[in-house]
């Protein structure tokens, strides 16, 4: 190592440390980004509303557009989804009598929402799931036996179901594709 290299090393060390300290000093005068959840939020702001669309919070099922295909039940790696569906000729399709998700077991991996053809099962930004017993953490979506949804040719026309399906398909686009959710739409 020549004297030139030696002196240059010293100069480089001093200058780079000084520049690094200038960067951190410039951060010292910026306001923080912290959202002070839960008790010091701005008036009328729910922190859930500020989370991004792809946030993986508690699971939710839109039974109106569930096709009872059981893809989510098969995809779940820890079997926290249980669906009972039987074919009923009189009703004209599958009738679901049970759609339970055990949120105590759920690990929020999102593998169930990926194969869902209609986006019926999806994550919500809701994350406040604490409860007093394990039993109450099982979310039961079927209150009374319900007929599974059948996709119609030429798009959904029912004004009640159409917006739900539209939102569901947005989840499919965002969650099930590798390039989904890259930023603002």
């Amino acid at each position: 190592m020549g004297l030139g290299t030696y002196l240059r090393n010293i100069k480089d060390a001093a200058l780079t440390i000084a520049d690094g300290m200038a960067v951190t000093a410039s951060h010292l005068v910026r306001k923080p980004y912290t959202v002070q959840y839960p008790d010091r939020l701005p008036e009328g702001v729910r922190v859930q509303d500020t989370l991004p669309f792809r946030y993986r919070g508690m699971l939710e099922v839109d039974l109106e557009i569930c096709t009872a295909c059981l893809a989510c039940e098969r995809a779940c790696p820890i079997d926290c989804i249980v669906i009972d569906a039987t074919k009923d000729k009189a009703a004209g399709g599958f009738v679901m009598t049970r759609f339970d998700i055990d949120m105590a077991k759920c690990m929020y991996c999102g593998l169930c929402s990926e194969p869902c053809p209609t986006g019926s099962i999806h994550h919500t930004p809701e994350f406040e799931g604490a409860d007093y017993s394990l039993e109450s953490m099982v979310r039961k979506f079927v209150k009374a036996p319900v007929l599974a949804y059948k996709p119609k040719k030429g798009g959904e026309t029912d004004p009640e179901i159409a917006p739900i399906l539209e939102r569901g398909m947005r989840y499919v686009g965002e969650f099930a594709s590798a390039e989904g959710g890259g930023g603002e739409e």
Binding site: M21, H27, L28, R30, K31, P32
Partner: protein
């Protein structure tokens, strides 16, 4: 202190001196050393928060100030675990050895004006010697824990502290030569209140010695970027891995308190200590208060710089740590030592104009640094309402989420 006891008691015996020493020691340790170590943890966490665009602890007491008390009490109440295979006596003793080495430094550290526990005539030598006791405690902790991470941490610490004592000591020598004294009070008395009468600006060599001493002192105090003995990402917590509760607290109190010791030594040797521009001979109480305030601010500024450095630089590798010490700091420190000696021969009464020139140079360097800070702020494209010069600000940056 001896004069104080002589004035208080008519015919003092050694019992009076011992009692006074214990009382003074208690006051200094519980009234200054422990709070300073604790408050520094709060300062560190608030500064770290702002540097990382967070807030830091802000719920316990005003601006989170009582966080250090809460953490201390929590640590005291926690279970004190001694591993089965540990060498129990050494394991239990180690934190006290570390703590002794750290608190021992306060015996000879000045606090401002006449406030000093004992103005030892070997002052700075005593401080460097007694703070070396820390390495014995750390090595003890590393060995007795019977844990490979602890042992590696202890050995790293020993290598590091032994190496960095040399540049630190060599950077103290020029000051000792200039002042002709080892006693802390005499070193301060040789300097003045104005910056150009400080030893740092006495000649170019002491200016460099100041930086070498600060870097070496950080390494001796196991501070980032030299926190290799702890190295969370490699050694879990290094020599303190197996410690819990109060013993762990003692290690960390010594580490944070050491920052103040570094600052106080730097302020004493290089920055004029507690010197103030006014004599105030007939007002002893405001004079001592002013001197204490001056010294404390000078010392605590370097604690802030150490915290700032910690959140700026990543940890260096072991070989880089050794290269930095033996190839760069030690040779340059030797050059400083010889340079100061030659300088004193050439200018026995100080070179006229050089201290003032060095002051101007330092001010120019500071100005260039501040311009660099402004450059980084403008490059980030920040608007006025996104800035806050209040270091305790909790208000969120507007226009997000």
């Amino acid at each position: 202190m001896q004069e104080f006891v002589d004035g208080l008691v008519a015919n003092p015996s050694w019992v009076h001196y011992l009692g006074a020493m214990l009382v003074f020691g208690g006051i200094v340790v519980f009234g200054f050393v422990l709070p300073i170590a604790g408050i520094t943890t709060w300062v560190e966490r608030r500064v770290a928060g702002r540097i990382q665009s967070r807030i830091g602890p802000n719920r316990t007491g005003p601006a989170g100030f009582l966080q250090w008390l809460a953490d201390g009490i929590k640590s005291l109440l926690k279970e004190d675990i001694v591993p089965d295979a540990a060498d129990a006596p050494l394991f239990k003793l180690a934190p006290y050895v570390v703590m002794t080495g750290f608190v021992g430094a306060f015996v000879a550290l000045p606090f401002g004006g006449p406030l000093i526990i004992a103005d030892l005539n070997v002052g700075i030598l005593y401080i460097t010697a007694v703070t070396s006791l820390v390495v014995v405690g750390i090595l003890m902790a590393g060995w007795s824990s019977n844990n490979k991470w602890s042992l590696l941490g202890g050995i790293r610490s020993a290598a590091q502290i032994v190496s960095y004592e040399i540049p630190a000591g060599l950077s103290i020598f020029p000051i000792v030569m200039l002042s002709g004294a080892l006693s802390m009070q005499s070193i301060i008395a040789e300097q003045g209140a104005a910056p150009w009468r400080w030893f740092i600006f006495n000649n170019p060599f002491t200016f460099i010695a100041f930086f070498i001493f600060f870097v070496a002192a950080l390494a001796e105090g196991n501070r980032t970027p030299f926190d290799l003995p702890e190295a969370e990402s490699e050694l879990v917590m290094g020599f303190a891995t197996e410690y819990s509760g109060m013993r762990n607290l003692l290690f960390f109190m010594a580490e944070w308190g050491n920052l103040y010791v570094i600052g106080a030594i730097v302020a004493t040797l290089f920055l004029g200590g507690w010197q103030i521009p006014w004599a105030l001979a007939e007002h002893p109480v405001p004079r001592v208060a002013l001197q204490f305030g001056t010294f404390f601010l000078k010392s605590y500024f370097w604690v802030f710089v150490a915290v700032w450095l910690r959140w700026t630089l990543p940890r260096i590798r072991v070989d880089q740590m050794m290269i930095m010490c033996w190839k760069y700091l030690v040779p340059v420190a030797f050059v400083n030592l010889l340079g100061t000696a030659v300088w004193m021969v050439l200018f026995p009464h100080g070179a006229p104009g050089v201290p003032e020139l060095l002051c101007v140079a330092a001010a120019v360097l500071l100005g260039l640094f501040l311009r660099r800070v402004r450059y980084h702020l403008t490059r980030a494209g920040l608007k006025r309402e996104e800035l806050s010069y209040n270091i305790l600000a909790t208000e969120r940056i507007p226009g997000l989420g």
